[in-house]
């Protein structure tokens, strides 16, 4: 050792950085510096006063790591940091990497400091001090590392409207009238009793579920070394002693007779819940019943029934396949991408959405989850048949003069004919309800076409069919 460096307790990082800059400037190797201040047997010189000729450059990640490691309680932290600096300067491997022994050690130290700061934010317990004016609080805390200084900003931001003091053995942080200052530490101060602590203990004891004991999980996150300053931990032994017996009592008590009067409350509430009419007499009743539909399994996965909307006495009914992702979430038909395309084509064809009835052959969204999305699945024949009940009610109550079927599923639902759509598109068929059905493309089919020319052609056909359906409905 030829050089010794003594560092202050407060403002440690800047002091270390300044010393390290001078040392590396003179290219003083790590083994020639005693960072503990030269308390060894041999006399040592201070670092040279002047900045050295060499200027070291370090990645930002090193400074970030050093800012954290510096608060570690291990005396060798400053020497290890200088060793890392030396190796970065010399380009000897990557002392910041987890795969490097020194890097691993520094990262572990930084993590320990980070955890200690986090635990301080969690485990400081304030007690209120008496007095008038601004409310004052104080706490005693024993961190494992020198974390009060880096950890205090959090409290300043959180508790800006009160004065507070956090005392630790080595340092005291004081926040007064919006100013944070640091003072020497000391022994544990005597803090007055605080009535809220009793309420806190009540909460702690009652939020605990005696049916599930997981002591290891508790100790891993709330290590015993912090317990002496956590008032609620004093209750733990009694809570545990009683837990088994409490659970046993619950088991023994088993089922009790219901509270008197409960049945009447339940009956009243259930009677007021929406009911599905077996044979709806109006379009509104049909909608109400459809919202509770469980005719097939699609309702289990979908959000809600998407009922038709528009004019209840419309001359034209437009029937799509089934609600998509967006329709399922909003509970309205044709509001997703395909719906927007359809609404555009309707505007083009002079079809006023307020004067038609818009609906789907199947009222629930069928999908498979894939990654973060829900992918549309074509409804099966059975699902379409189950849902035909609702489509039939819509047809019966709206009594449209003309129905436009969009896509093969709607065509099948309305006509009972499952033959391919392409050759039938643009044709007029007789629906199962006895009225005319014009067959067209589903707007989603337009969206799926990648060739712009084909897409335009199909969109023109859809628009033409819309116009034709409108004319037929008006005549």
């Amino acid at each position: 050792m030829t050089h010794a460096v003594a560092l202050p307790r407060h403002g440690l990082f800047e002091a270390w950085r300044e010393a390290a800059r001078r040392a590396i400037g003179h290219r003083i190797p790590p083994e020639e510096i005693d960072w503990t201040g030269g308390e060894g047997l041999f006399a040592a010189d201070p670092l040279p006063d002047s900045p050295g000729p060499h200027r070291a450059h370090v990645p930002a990640a090193f400074l970030q790591l050093a800012r954290s490691v510096i608060w570690h309680s291990a005396p060798e932290r400053t020497a290890l940091l200088y060793r890392a600096l030396w190796r970065i300067d010399r380009q000897e491997g990557d002392p910041l990497s987890q795969a490097d022994p020194l890097g691993r050690r520094l990262n572990l130290m930084a993590r320990a400091v980070g955890r200690d700061i986090h635990k301080m934010h969690a485990f400081v317990r304030f007690r209120e001090l008496p007095g008038a004016g601004r409310r004052r609080f104080a706490a005693w805390f024993e961190p494992e590392h020198d974390t009060l200084e880096p950890g205090s900003r959090f409290f300043a931001r959180r508790f800006a409207d009160m004065d507070w003091t956090i005392a630790t053995p080595r340092l005291t942080a004081r926040f007064q009238d919006g100013r944070l200052s640091f003072h020497p530490g000391g022994p544990r101060p005597d803090l007055p009793e605080d009535a809220s602590e009793t309420l806190w203990a009540t909460y702690f004891a009652n939020i605990f579920n005696p049916g599930r004991i997981k002591l290891e999980a508790m100790r891993a996150e709330m290590p015993k070394k912090y317990w002496k300053n956590l008032p609620e931990t004093r209750l733990i032994p009694d809570m545990l002693k009683d837990a088994e017996a409490r659970v046993e009592r619950m088991r023994q008590a088993a089922a009790t007779p219901p509270r008197p009067g409960a049945a009447a409350v339940s009956t009243r509430y259930r009677a007021a819940m929406p009911q599905a009419a077996d044979l709806p007499q109006t379009l509104a009743e049909a909608r109400q019943a459809a919202l509770l539909c469980r005719r097939c399994a699609l309702c289990e996965a979908a959000t809600q029934t998407v009922w038709g909307e528009g004019a209840p006495e419309a001359g034209l009914m437009i029937v799509g396949e089934q609600p998509g992702d967006r329709e399922d979430l909003e509970g309205r038909p044709f509001v997703g991408p395909a719906g927007q395309l359809l609404r555009g084509a309707m505007a083009e064809a002079g079809v006023d959405p307020a004067r038609v009835w818009l609906t789907n052959a199947v009222k629930h969204f069928k999908f498979v989850p894939r990654g973060k999305r829900r992918l549309h699945q074509t409804p099966g024949r059975e699902e379409i048949q189950h849902c035909r009940w609702w489509l039939g009610l819509e047809l019966a109550f709206v009594r449209p003069r003309m129905v436009l079927a969009l896509g093969a599923s709607a065509a099948f639902a309305l006509t009972g004919n499952a033959a391919p759509l392409a050759p039938r598109r643009g044709g007029m068929e007789t629906g199962l309800h006895g009225g005319p059905v014009l067959l067209s493309w589903h707007p989603a089919h337009v969206l799926r076409l990648t060739d712009p020319a084909a897409r335009q052609a199909v969109l023109r056909e859809l628009t033409a069919d819309l116009a034709r359906a409108r004319q037929a409905a008006e005549s």
Partner: protein, 410 residues
């Protein structure tokens, strides 16, 4: 009975709230009190204490009241239960939150409630508590509001204005069990409310329209809870249900809560020891869904009769069924495959991908990078290690599963 003190009420209404597993206070917007008010939030949450049940205590988790007109068989507060009842006033909740907060006991409030009079009235009272905290007291801490099923969309919208997180419990993984055990709850309205929360949340992030920022809406998103072990649903049904909830409503979390005995139980449900290990395996599988690129169907390949293996974790169970993909060349394998190695967590994988850019990794490096090599060993190959026949050995599963318990003499 004498008038209940605040302490009595707190005892009753925190006892009644403990069956909600969630206590998260993470995410949401960054706020602090330097420009007025009290409190801060944002970033990772803080657990201020832990109870001996291993659960974190981050928020003051209470019910506004445990009076309830619903009769959910699994719930201690159902109308037919004989538990002691209490109700907080708005001021009492506000005082408790602020005084606990000032002493650094909590990050904020988790408010749920039994349903009194009607869902709308209950929700309106809860919203009033949140509004009072925010508006009258400048409270910047975290607020989690439980959404009452069947509450009106307008009330949910206002709740999102004050709360950081909203949640509504699906309670049970299958609609049929919910209809049976909670006759007043309706799965379709629960899902509609979740859909609304998702859409409102997305609309609140959308600044594009008039250039004006829309009002905030539950910046920490929404979550839900499923009770495990109260109905006959198997683990795959639970995970498929969770997948639908994540993809459909962009939930931040699905919580799984092992059904535990409640005082004054209903005859409809068994009073058995809560299946804590099953709950743990479900959380592991949930992590695989959210962070490891697994689908529920893939996890299913490692299950037995629809249930996750209780002896080994779901990733290991999957890997043992797909040994043909292993051993994996750690220095060359894509990130998606590294994530599938048992014993490698997401952080380990990030470190591996980062470190192997500059040099070839050796076996000794992996343990230093946080990998659990005892588990990972049979599934990886890299300089310094080759598992040889270990990957395909018949006894591989037995190396991980706990030894069978010895029978005792009668």
């Amino acid at each position: 009975m004498a008038r209940a003190t605040l302490q009595d009420k707190l005892a009753i209404l925190s006892d009644a709230a403990k069956y909600d597993a969630s206590c998260a206070s993470s995410g949401g917007e960054r706020r602090d009190s330097r420009k007025g008010g009290l409190g801060s939030s944002g970033g990772s949450g803080i657990c201020h204490a832990y109870a001996p049940d291993g659960r974190c205590i981050s928020l003051l988790k209470i019910l506004m009241t445990n009076f309830c007109i619903f009769d959910c068989a699994y719930c201690v507060n159902r109308v037919s239960s004989n538990v002691e009842r209490a109700r907080f006033s708005v001021e009492e909740v506000v005082t408790l939150v602020l005084e606990f907060y000032r002493r650094n006991y909590i990050e904020g409030l988790f408010l749920s409630s039994g349903i009194i009079r009607s869902p709308d009235q209950t929700m309106a009272d809860m919203v009033r508590i949140a509004r009072t905290l925010r508006q009258d007291h400048g409270f910047n801490g975290y607020i989690h509001l439980k959404t009452i099923p069947d509450a009106s969309p307008d009330l949910i919208r206002e709740a999102g204005l004050w709360a950081d997180r909203l949640s509504i419990n699906v309670e049970l993984p299958q609609d049929a069990s919910l209809r049976q055990l909670a006759p007043e709850k309706r799965p379709e309205t629960i899902r509609s409310a979740m859909a609304q929360v998702r859409l409102e949340g997305e609309a609140a992030q959308d600044e594009s329209h008039a250039g004006k920022r829309p009002p905030r809406f539950a910046p920490a998103g929404q979550s839900t809870q499923m009770i495990v072990g109260a109905d006959g649903a198997d683990d795959m049904a639970i995970l498929q249900s969770a997948t639908r909830l994540y993809t459909g409503y962009r939930l931040k979390r699905v919580y799984y809560s092992a059904f535990s005995p409640i005082p004054d139980a209903s005859a409809a449900l068994p009073l058995v020891r809560p299946p804590l290990l099953r709950e743990h395996r479900l959380y592991q599988a949930d992590w695989l869904l959210r962070f490891y690129g697994f689908s529920a169907e893939e996890i299913a390949t490692g299950t037995k009769a629809g249930h996750l293996d209780l002896e080994i974790d779901p990733k290991l169970a999957w890997a043992l069924q797909h040994r043909g993909l292993f051993p994996l060349e750690v220095n060359r394998a894509p990130r998606e495959m590294l994530l599938r190695v048992p014993g490698f967590g997401t952080r380990t994988v990030d470190r591996i991908v980062e470190a192997r850019r500059s040099r070839s990794l050796r076996y000794e490096d992996l343990a230093r990078m946080g990998a659990a090599m005892k588990t990972a060993r049979p599934f990886v190959a890299l300089p310094g290690w080759s598992p040889g026949a270990l990957t395909d050995s018949a006894g591989l599963r037995a190396r991980f599963a706990p030894p069978p318990e010895q029978l005792r003499l009668l």
